[in-house]
């Protein structure tokens, strides 16, 4: 026995992890990031399971000396597995932005989609010309529509630069001063933000929005001591 039709039509949601793998990320930071993202995946998959209207695809780009895609093609979330990042060399964030911009063109982006989510995780300042790469993103229709989150690890980041990347004064860079805070922010970006971009949740009365995408409140950092 069967039913007419098939699975509910869904829109793709492209989720980009843009990860700093420069030398200063070496040791505990990069391992904490690897663990935080691995830990966040089951809940991200649960969020996807509960939302029949979105199909989530993941992309991972790492930057240090230059930038490299960890997966050449977008991978459906249900087939995605994290391969650990390792740290070395400089912070060529601008190169990563340029390569992300290439992927936000149509094609390879489809004409119909949910706003892409770009999550930048970094512990330092770009050593190349980030403005050129950022402009390339901002000049594209999907770049303009993208929802951008920045997670700053430790206290050495240029928060103004991260705010420039986010491009929306209502969303602030998140400062993760310890591994627990990093894990909370990674989980928040991959679950709460994804939920809201694909909009399946109950909406509280106060959340009437004027923005393109309503971003939920990030979790509190807590009062844990800095252990980096």
């Amino acid at each position: 026995m069967a039913l007419p039709g098939g699975e509910l039509a869904s829109r793709p949601l492209y989720f980009f992890w843009i990860c700093d793998c420069s030398g200063s990320m070496g040791g505990q930071k990069i391992q904490s990031l690897n663990t935080a993202i691995r830990e966040s995946l089951p809940e991200m998959k649960q969020v996807a399971d509960e939302n029949p209207s979105a199909s989530i695809y993941l992309r991972v780009i790492e930057f240090s000396s230059g930038a490299r895609w960890k997966n050449v093609q977008p991978v459906p979330l249900e087939k995605f597995s994290w391969s650990d990042l390792s740290a070395e060399s400089t912070t060529d964030m601008g190169k990563a932005f340029e390569m992300v911009a290439e992927q936000l063109k149509m094609p390879p982006m489809p004409e119909r989609a949910l706003p892409p989510v770009l999550v930048l995780v970094t512990d330092g300042q770009p050593t190349d010309d980030y403005k050129k790469g950022l402009k390339a993103i901002n000049d594209l229709p999907w770049g303009k529509k993208s929802v951008r989150i920045a997670i700053a690890i430790g206290g050495d980041c240029d928060l103004d630069m991260l705010q420039e990347f986010i491009g929306n004064p209502e969303i602030k860079p998140l400062s993760a001063n310890n591994p627990e805070a990093l894990a909370r922010y990674i989980k928040w970006a991959s679950t709460a933000v994804v939920k809201d971009v694909s909009s399946p949740q109950s909406q509280p009365v106060s959340r009437r929005a004027a923005a393109n995408v309503q971003i939920p409140q990030p979790p509190a950092q807590g009062t844990d001591p800095d252990v980096w």
Binding site: P52, S202, Q217
Partner: protein, 438 residues
């Protein structure tokens, strides 16, 4: 892993003063987390709120206490039974409810085709939704958030469970929740109204449309032409310029064959009376909250729809008979071949397809027992020695009288069957039913 309560954490119930112990984390949402717990030898579910959410929803505790006091409309609602409090942490609280059994699956599972229930099960789900939300509204309550995530059903029989009842409040009071995108009434999307029983009716219509068509009633060409499906786009589609995909007057938003195949494939398989109800729900009902389809209308339509089911004479798949077209042939939606439409029983105003598993209930046979589907009064049965002969079996304790088309009068004792022959009129006690062909 939950964030709020650890395994073994003990909470106390407010009214019954019992201790309950957290067993495991079940899931989290925007308001809090749900855990399995043990309460006096019984396994229950505990919803425990995020302290941050309580700052936003300041009336919550009072509302839940009101719900506990009033009690559930019936057992289909996983309703707050008692408050739970923690002696160690007074920043939050929770409530006890019955655990949802594993046999209940979500509508999301249906939309993703992880489950494929039979069509008669979907009609029962539709009936139960209409019947139970009517019960809730009859008590003066408004649900506020009818959507995929809050309704579960048993794919084997269509029985439903309605969850997340903590947003329920007396209709007309201010609530903390507006609804879920795609299910909210246009006036809420536009920011002109709050959730009421009238907006619940809109959300119920959307849910029923999803149930039968696996697509959204307002998502047609207007949706497929949107590049980035963000908040301004959604406001336009669901609030500022909503157009039903099968609006008879405005054809601008028909389903896009490249995207909305489900609507195109599903819409024609249903009888015209159901399609007309959906047209009313999403034309007049879009514009005028007072013109929305009432639950009593959906309830009646769902019972009627279930009576239309028959099996394709070629492939055996369930089809719906459109009694209004009175055609002896139809095209099966599944195999695409001509299929013979079934004989049917005209019983009062009910028209019931006669198939191998048809059952007649007091709902059909006694106008004073509408919606009584507890015990059948008759069922289709096979002759004990001749498998080609079928009859209608008397399951009541009283003798039926029947008259054949030729005028012969027959008596049908309890437990006996009368052969299915067009023109036969059976008196079921209070109502006459005639076997007809289309």
């Amino acid at each position: 892993m939950g964030q709020l309560l650890e395994k073994g954490h003990r909470l106390s119930t407010k009214c019954s003063s019992n201790t309950c112990e957290i067993i495991q984390f079940l899931g989290g949402g925007g308001q809090g987390e749900v855990y399995k717990a043990k309460l006096a030898n019984r396994e229950v579910a505990i919803k425990w709120y995020f302290p941050g959410y309580l700052e936003h929803d300041t009336d919550l505790r009072e509302r839940i206490e009101k719900l506990i006091k009033s009690g559930a409309p019936n057992n289909r609602f996983l309703w707050p039974e008692d408050l739970v409090l923690s002696t160690e942490d007074d920043t939050s609280f929770g409530y006890v409810m019955e655990l949802r059994e594993r046999r209940f699956k979500s509508l999301t599972d249906l939309m993703k085709r992880k489950i494929e229930p039979e069509l008669h099960v979907l009609t029962t789900v539709g009936f139960e939704l209409a019947f139970n939300f009517l019960q809730l509204h009859t008590m003066g309550f408004c649900y506020r958030d009818i959507s995929f995530g809050n309704v579960f059903f048993d794919p084997s029989n269509g029985e439903v469970r309605i969850c997340d009842n903590d947003n329920v409040d007396v209709n007309g009071t201010d609530g903390a929740i507006e609804g879920t995108p795609r299910f909210m009434a246009p006036e809420i999307v536009r920011g002109e109204a709050s959730a009421t029983t009238s907006t619940d009716l809109f959300s119920l219509s959307v849910l029923l449309f999803y149930l039968f068509m696996s697509s959204h009633p307002l998502e047609g060409l207007h949706e497929s032409s949107i590049h980035s499906f963000d908040l301004p786009a959604q406001k336009q589609l669901y609030g500022l310029r909503p157009v039903f995909i099968y609006d008879p007057e405005d054809t601008s938003n028909r389903p896009d064959p490249n995207v909305h195949r489900n609507a195109i494939d599903s819409w024609p398989i249903y009888p015209s009376f159901l399609r007309e109800l959906f047209i009313r729900a999403f034309t007049e009902g879009l514009r005028n909250p007072d013109s929305r389809i009432r639950e009593s209308e959906w309830r009646s339509a769902m019972a009627r729809l279930r009576d239309c089911i028959y099996y394709c004479s070629n492939c055996g798949e369930e089809n719906f008979c459109d009694f209004e077209t009175k055609s002896s042939n139809a095209i099966c939606w599944s195999c695409g071949k001509n299929t013979r439409t079934p004989m049917y029983l005209q019983l009062g105003r009910h028209q019931i397809s006669i198939t191998r598993d048809t059952k007649i209930f007091p709902h059909h046979a006694d106008k004073d027992s509408l919606y009584d589907f507890s015990n059948p009064v008759a069922e289709v049965s096979r002759h004990p020695t001749d498998p080609d002969r079928w009859g209608i079996k008397n399951l009541t304790q009283i003798k039926w009288t029947a008259s054949a088309a030729g005028g012969k009068t027959l008596e049908v004792e309890p437990g006996r069957s009368i052969g299915i022959v067009p023109g036969t009129v059976i008196n079921f006690g209070k109502t006459d039913g005639e076997i007809k062909i289309q």
